[in-house]
Symmetry: C2
Subunit: 219 residues, 2 copies
Amino acid sequence: MTSFERPTLVRDGVYDHLRRAVLDGDLAPGERLGEVELGAQLGVSRTPIREALMRLTQDGLLIAEANKGVRVRTLSAAEARDTYVVREELDGLAAALAAQHHTPADAAALRAALNELHAAPGSDYRAQTRLDLAFHRAITHAAHNAALNDLNRDLEQRVALIKHQTRTYNAHPQTDAQHAALLDAILARDHDAARDAARTHVRTFAALVLNDLQPRSTP
Amino acid sequence: MTSFERPTLVRDGVYDHLRRAVLDGDLAPGERLGEVELGAQLGVSRTPIREALMRLTQDGLLIAEANKGVRVRTLSAAEARDTYVVREELDGLAAALAAQHHTPADAAALRAALNELHAAPGSDYRAQTRLDLAFHRAITHAAHNAALNDLNRDLEQRVALIKHQTRTYNAHPQTDAQHAALLDAILARDHDAARDAARTHVRTFAALVLNDLQPRSTP
DNA sequence: GCGCACAATATTGTATACAATATCCACAAT
DNA sequence: ATTGTGGATATTGTATACAATATTGTGCGC
């Protein structure tokens, strides 16, 4: 929340900055975002701040109440469950399409992403989360489907919000094996196996996260 | 584009107004939207206009170029194909979930929506489109999955844009039968049949639309 | 007649001023 | 003590003013 780069337009800089802050968990779910305060922190007027907040609200990362400002969105346990149901379907589709359409460059990127993820220290929650996301993005990218990529962006954001509410740790005995199986199936161009592997992975992971989320109250 | 109602906030009124205009095809794909012009037409300042345009851009209905304003989005043939691939998956999921989770009220709404659709004059393109959309929305609603509803909203918008580019007519010999089969499967709580029926319907419809889209150039 | 440069114009981007609404604290009435 | 009312304060919502960038058109040179 200190310095920030402007791409060309101030509002885009603010948007990127705040989006990352929410997705990285620097802004906690439920936290209120005041326009004047943000403007002072980033050294810009309220106008680009407002426009960035508007976009983030439309993304579903923030919740706006009329005349009451915006807050970082919190998802109920039910919404979290719903999200993983959809994610299972869409991740499965992404894996199947990636198996069918991936290029040699995609294959290299997928291998690299998984290697990075395996190399990350198991104790580093943020790095783990970031690299896991990168791996899944590589799969979606390899699917070469623009609509899927757009929708997946929304889902990624929801999952990030859920994770920050639960602080569920990524590591799991089966995670590495599942990732490997998924990658193998994609590279082998076996779209059915890839779809199954992706769906299984989402299911196990969802069970983990939802188990953590369940005990808490659902505001 | 003449009168418009304001819910409470001006920007929300502008947003709803413009969104409907784009989705109804009153604003043609590719058409440029000037801020001062819109402000004059709707009788408000540029600020709420800008904020509405920002949100619509984030929705994917408009395309913004820096310092060059926004235009109604046009989708390439490839993007249209991609959209229907995803829609097939998500409509299938929605139908399956609706079959599992629909309430008596949902069932009544589904029946009513389909009846309305059947009753609409086959020559009324706009009514046909609107009621078809309402039927599909009823299904998604009956699925009782918030995440799916949100994502479906994005897909609906894309499909609306595609349709306005092609002006494909909704009517098709198989459409009525497919709708009926889909509804029957949902009401019978047969989620596999419902999923298949939805996917089949999307496929036949996609083929129709894409066939119309293909001849045209892809800007 | 064609093309480039440059100015005139228009439009978007940002900042600020003003209005409307909500929040919060003090204080009184029960 | 608690609750309700009122005003003071703060924050959002809208309008407008100013700055920066793009577009357009005109004139000059070739």
